[in-house]
Amino acid sequence: MIYDIEYETMPREALESIQLRRLQATLERVYATVPFYKTSFQKAGITPGQIKSLEDLQKLPFTTKQDLRDNYPFGMFAVPMDNVVRIHASSGTTGQPTVVGYTARDVNTWATLMARSLTLGGATSGDIIHNAFGYGLFTGGLGVHYGAEKMGASVIPVSGGNTKRQIMIMKDFGPTILTATPSYTLHLAEVAQEMGVSFKDLKFKFGIFGAEPWSEKMREEIEKKLDLVAVDIYGLSEVIGPGVANECHEAKKGLHIAEDHFIAEIINPDTGQVLPWGETGELVFTSITKEAFPIIRYRTRDITSITREPCICGRTLARMSKVSGRTDDMLIIRGVNVFPSQIESVLMEIEGIEPHYQLVVDREGNLDTLTVMVEVGEHIFSDKVSPMQNLERQISKNIKEFFGVSAKVKLVEPKTIARSEGKAVRVIDNRKI
């Protein structure tokens, strides 16, 4: 099923003409209402009137997370507070939180996009959605919630945490769709097993997972452990929240971007140059329908590529590949770029390895060292020491072959690595201290 057939299957030419019209209107508006944009456009020597084509977008300066922090809390809002009905904020774990606002129309747009997303993921109005994304300032919970209601599905606003109770609700209420972060999903699977509850006996058909980069191997693991089809969702509060892009359950190959609301570009993160379709780089978004918090050429820090190849599901919207990492998550270890999700792929190639891992980076003298902590589950445990030492060597060897970087592998007891109810903490970088 397609939720918004007119826009989701629109011929590219028609789509682009809508994009240009909406872009021009947005630029005029931010220039007039947000001092930050007026200044930054002027510095770049450009006025909104000079943007005559979609290609001209490249002439505009980028907006970065730092810009949002500099304008904390409401400096980037383009409407008076009277018109703002909702405020969300990022967690602020890497610094000051970024604050975003929504008008009533923005909330409605977001709900529509999220309804599209859920439909992309396989949901229909008859489904019961177990929404384990956190509610609150984080956009995940409420984003999914409003989308589910918009499309007429039932939503259980269970939020994150209280995991045993969640399992009980799953048993008793019989939800058919699960929405959560991939790492919390695996935690749910673990707790269910401890409680003697099998996902095979539950009613889940689909799961829509996102809010952190996760590998294809992790997808396989989730599908196997939870006995459902797992699709990827993408979004960020600065753009709108979840629902910016979503995989269709038919193809499970790339996330359809809501291009009628957001223009996506891929740039070389070092030079800022726009890359051709298909190449991998940093994702940049411009919102073209947002009222309260329009954003121009926002550098997401997410690494992906975009294809315009037609999809078997019938949608014409471009697709971004699964986010493989973040430029700010990227570890540079002895000059080599390493993304946690790549290590995850290497680990999960090995039979029996649990998906709970953590990377610890230290500096000894002038040398960076990488330690990969892997939890020992029953599948890899042996009463003999040598099989486990062989496993350590095997992981180490595979990482070396893949990255050219030596890693020390440390087997740790189960539950040593903290379970997260939101985004997993994959990296501890001790070098910064």
């Binding site: 020992v376 029953e378 445990f381 042996s382 009463d383 003999k384 020491v385 007891e413």
Partner: protein, 143 residues
């Protein structure tokens, strides 16, 4: 003929072994024999206890990774060459000892050794044929 042994994965950090003994003490499980194999990062604790199932369940409930294996308890004459005769017999027949450790208690005049073989069935057959006494599980748990 076999003896059940549980094995526990331990990280090399202080207090982990004490945690295991605490859990077993609270569960009223008695340790009959033990061996600890260690590397620089982790250790594997092997135990023979008087109540294998209870030990296994309680340790698991407390978050430990626990395995169960079959080992063989053999009476070894308590005199020079006692152990050697067993090992040479196994060696000559191509049975490999993965690891072994001693039982604290004696069985009559004999010492008791716990063996983990690469081919348990073959080893049992061989030892019995050559007159060695193998002590079965139910006896060893209460010896």
């Amino acid at each position: 003929m076999r003896v059940e042994q549980i094995s526990i994965f331990l990280e090399n950090k202080s207090g982990r072994l004490a945690k295991v003994t605490e859990i077993l003490a609270d569960a009223q499980v008695n340790i009959r024999a033990l061996s600890l194999a260690d590397t620089s990062d982790f250790g594997v604790l092997r135990l023979i206890v008087d109540n294998t199932e209870k030990a296994k369940t309680t340790l698991k409930e407390n978050g430990f990774t626990v395995g169960k294996t079959n080992v063989v308890a053999v009476e070894v004459p308590d005199k020079p060459g006692g152990l050697h005769n067993i090992l040479i017999l196994l060696h000559n027949s191509g049975v490999n000892v993965e690891y072994m450790y001693a039982f604290v208690q004696q069985s009559g005049d004999n010492a008791v050794m716990i063996f983990r073989f690469d081919n348990t069935d073959e080893a049992i057959k061989l030892l019995e044929k050559n007159g060695f006494t193998i002590i079965n599980g139910s006896k060893i748990y209460t010896l």
